[in-house]
Amino acid sequence: MIGFVKQRLSNGLRVIVHRDEGTPMATMNILYDAGSRDEDPEATGFAHLFEHLMFEGTRNIPFFDVPVMMSGGENNAFTNNDLTNYYITLPANNLETAFWLESDRMRGLDLAEERLVNQKSVVTEEFRQRYLNQPYGDLQLLLRPLAYRIHPYRWPAIGMDISHIEKADSNSARKFYDRFYTPTNAILSVAGNVDPEEVFRLAEKWFGVIPPGEKIFRNLPQEPEQEERRELTVYRSVPSAHLIMAFHMGSRESRGFYVLDLLTDILAGCDSARFPAILVRQKELFSEADIYLSGEADPGLVIFSGRVRDGTDIRKAEEVVRSELERLASENVTAAELDKARNRYESHRLMSYISASNKAFSLAYHEVLGDAEGINTEHEQYMSVTAEEIVSTARHTFRPGNCSAIHYLPSKK
């Protein structure tokens, strides 16, 4: 059980506190309910670029990192398709510095043109480093527009194309900031060696005066059900072929999420799981074979990802994966498999809650999904998954028409 208390300031800012006296540190996490799904299709990658701008200082605090370091802390942030998340971990006795910093950049960000110009260049290099200068690095860029036709998940958080980042301007940065970076649209959570009453007092003192901003109602185009298989073949200068098969699934809050999360663990969560055992060791078709959930809030993807062994035909390899998936739709997973997945879930859960910063993020994340209490109740969701539910979910998910496949092949020398 992760105990916590929650309050809402009059400007709408939600504040959640978890006390952990086993550490001298505290993490302040601030989650903005704005991700790449909120972008204009003509200007993708903007939420992430904006995250970079948040470190570029304000009129009051020109160098964001300096006070963090002076107080012995560390900080970072990430952007995904759904949200943008910032955190500062520092000695608990310096917690107020984090309040000062985060409240200051929630309302006084310096959006000068030269800051934008520079960060556009940094993000362009990030794009190259992560997606273009890595073997197989562009798989993400290829998969999304194949699997999604209308939902904004059709582009990755880094953006659809470098040219979108290059043409971002400070006018749109200002608009994005005013719309999304408001108390109404944010969740603040603190975990660590802190007194909840003191945290609420600090929240009121530093954030209480910020105008609430407007509530945002998302009205994203919903992806229609996929009826027909999609396939993309590309040739790249890589040593071996790679197979991707992606299937549409339910939202993060649907029952199917928990069922598929356990199921993918049974299939590929550990060395003795089915795919490593059958596809890698027994049949020797793949050198690696994984299956995982993309994990977004709106309906996401179950993604099979496998490096095909040299000398194996990718179509034959895909056929065997398909028959393994079809087997799930007709034949129950064993009690031992289910038990193993539950044990593994339990230790992973404990492992991830060793760190106060993980707890702070997780509380904020469950709150943005609907209720911070999810951090405790999702345990029951996992434990109650039955073999029958797995069969019916697998049958629905792994339909041939629901599949988007990428055959990523070595270019002929």
């Binding site: 952990d20 086993g22 550490t23 001298p24 540190m25 009129r59 160098f63 990192d65 300096v66 006070p67 370091m69 002076m70 107080s71 012995g72 802390g73 971990t89 520092l90 000695p91 310096n94 510095t97 000062w100 200051d104 309302r107 006084g108 520079n118 556009k120 260049s121 290099e125 990030e126 480093q129 992560r130 200068n133 890595q134 073997p135 003192k205 910020i210 105008p211 200068s237 890589v238 040593p239 071996s240 550990c270 060395d271 003795s272 055992a277 890698v280 060791r281 020797e284 050198s287 690696e288 062994r309 031992a336 193993k340 044990n343 593994r344 339990e346 230790s347 404990l350 492992m351 060793i354």
Partner: protein, 428 residues
């Protein structure tokens, strides 16, 4: 219109490193030291077994990493499928890897599964069978991963650096080729394993809310079978043939970025300058607002990130700066790095910058000792490198008291441009 900031900044309490002492060791019956890192509230135990079984001990190249990878590929009592199934059923995670100097197995388990999991840990550590078929498959898989890594500029630049620093014939600097994978046999593995994976040749760390629970179980599985009395593991000193400084270029065709790596020989962890070098590299490229990050990323926008570190293997130290930049910027990047180093060799760091770095490093030290799992990592960093039990206490003292004059002295001594290797891996 957003309103103006009215409140003044909160006062910052100067961070302190906290308790940085090495936890005391308990001893198993035969004398094996077990370091206990106990606190926290989570009902998990992390047990790590460390052997002097890294690359430096190899007679045959790749033996160390392959033995480590083969531990869970079958034992005298279970084949690969069933040993993995037994481990995974407990929910435990076993991770094993070999570094340049040592090799280890980390077991993280629910406390209630402790007995089963330690029995399995002992089995994979001391009774692996190195079956031919699993070995062949593992080799194929690793070879495929190896070939992929040949396209990473960062990997190519790193190996060029270690080769320059340690010499291509030493175990620290040897460059792996496809042939190394084909040459290795299971007999090489058995030999290496028998020599180095022994209970009289290891140490253990236990971390968790109640590490003492693990002691009797460790005694049960790691002290029996007439094992010899424990002796302190020894890591030998290989012959190192450091090459002449200068420019090194490695062609990685079609890459859209180049890795720039500039490096020098450094010092080992027990050397009196090691701690001061930590502070110097922090100033140069150890944090977001460091000299290099400010110039190369924030002013020039050449890169997503640039960093500098001073590190050490057991027998040799190194200093290195690394970054990935667009091909078009690589020469400017090298020039800018040189300029920043020249400044640090001629102008003293301001007291303001010193305070910033001191506080930052104190906070980092406090995080190094935050929680039992972190402490276990810190222990390994001390023991494996003979850094001295008071290593972190001395580091905290250096951070507190080092002067700008001493920092400049370190830059003059260790960052001489005439002694640097300037490595670029990228397309021609």
């Amino acid at each position: 219109m957003r309103e103006k900031q009215k409140k003044t900044a909160p006062e910052i309490i100067t961070p302190s490193a906290g308790d940085t002492s090495l936890p005391k060791a308990e001893f198993l019956g035969k004398g094996v030291p077990v370091f206990m890192a106990g606190n926290g509230t989570v009902d998990l135990l992390r047990i790590e077994f460390v052997f002097p079984a890294g690359q430096v001990m190899e007679d045959v190249h790749m033996a160390a990493s392959t033995v480590s990878a083969m531990l869970t590929e079958g034992t005298l009592h279970h084949d690969a499928a069933s040993i993995n199934d037994l481990i995974d059923s407990t929910g435990a995670a076993l991770t094993h890897a070999a570094d340049k100097d040592t090799a280890g197995l980390v077991t993280v388990t629910l406390t209630r599964k402790l007995d089963d999991v330690l029995a399995l840990s002992a089995e994979v550590l001391f009774s692996p069978s190195f079956p031919e078929n699993e070995f062949r498959m593992l080799t194929d898989r690793r070879l495929q991963a190896f070939l992929t890594s040949r396209q990473r500029t960062s990997v190519i630049a790193r190996e060029a650096f270690y080769e320059a620093l340690c010499g291509g014939r030493s175990p620290y600097g040897r460059i792996t080729t496809e042939d190394d994978y084909r040459r290795l046999t299971t007999n090489n593995l058995r030999e290496f394993h028998m020599k180095h994976y022994r209970p009289d040749n290891m140490y253990v760390t236990v971390a968790g809310s109640d590490p003492w629970k693990a002691l009797p179980v460790l005694e049960k599985y790691f002290s029996g079978n007439g094992a010899d009395k424990w002796k302190k593991p020894v890591i030998p000193s290989p012959v190192l043939e450091t090459s002449a400084p200068g420019k090194i270029f490695r062609d990685v065709p079609d890459s859209v970025q180049s890795t720039v790596r500039i490096g020098w020989k450094g010092v080992i962890r027990s050397h009196p300058d090691y701690q001061s070098l930590q502070v110097a590299t922090m100033i140069l490229g150890g944090y977001f607002g460091s000299r290099l990050m400010r110039t190369i990323r924030e002013e020039k926008g050449y890169t997503y990130g640039i960093g500098a570190v001073a590190g050490a293997f057991h027998n040799i130290g190194y200093i290195t700066i690394m970054t990935d930049v667009a091909n078009a910027y690589r020469d400017q990047t090298v020039a800018e790095i040189r300029k920043e180093i020249e400044k640090l060799r001629t102008i003293e760091v301001s007291e303001e910058e010193m305070t910033l770095v001191r506080n930052h490093m104190m906070g980092e030290l406090a995080r190094t000792f935050d929680g039992p799992f972190s402490v276990a990592d810190a222990i390994r960093g001390i023991i494996d490198y003979d850094a001295g039990a008071d290593y972190y206490t001395r580091l905290a003292e250096t951070v507190r008291s080092i002067t700008p004059a001493r920092i400049m002295e370190i830059f003059i001594r260790y960052f001489n441009p005439a002694e640097a290797w300037e490595i670029i891996a990228g397309s021609r």
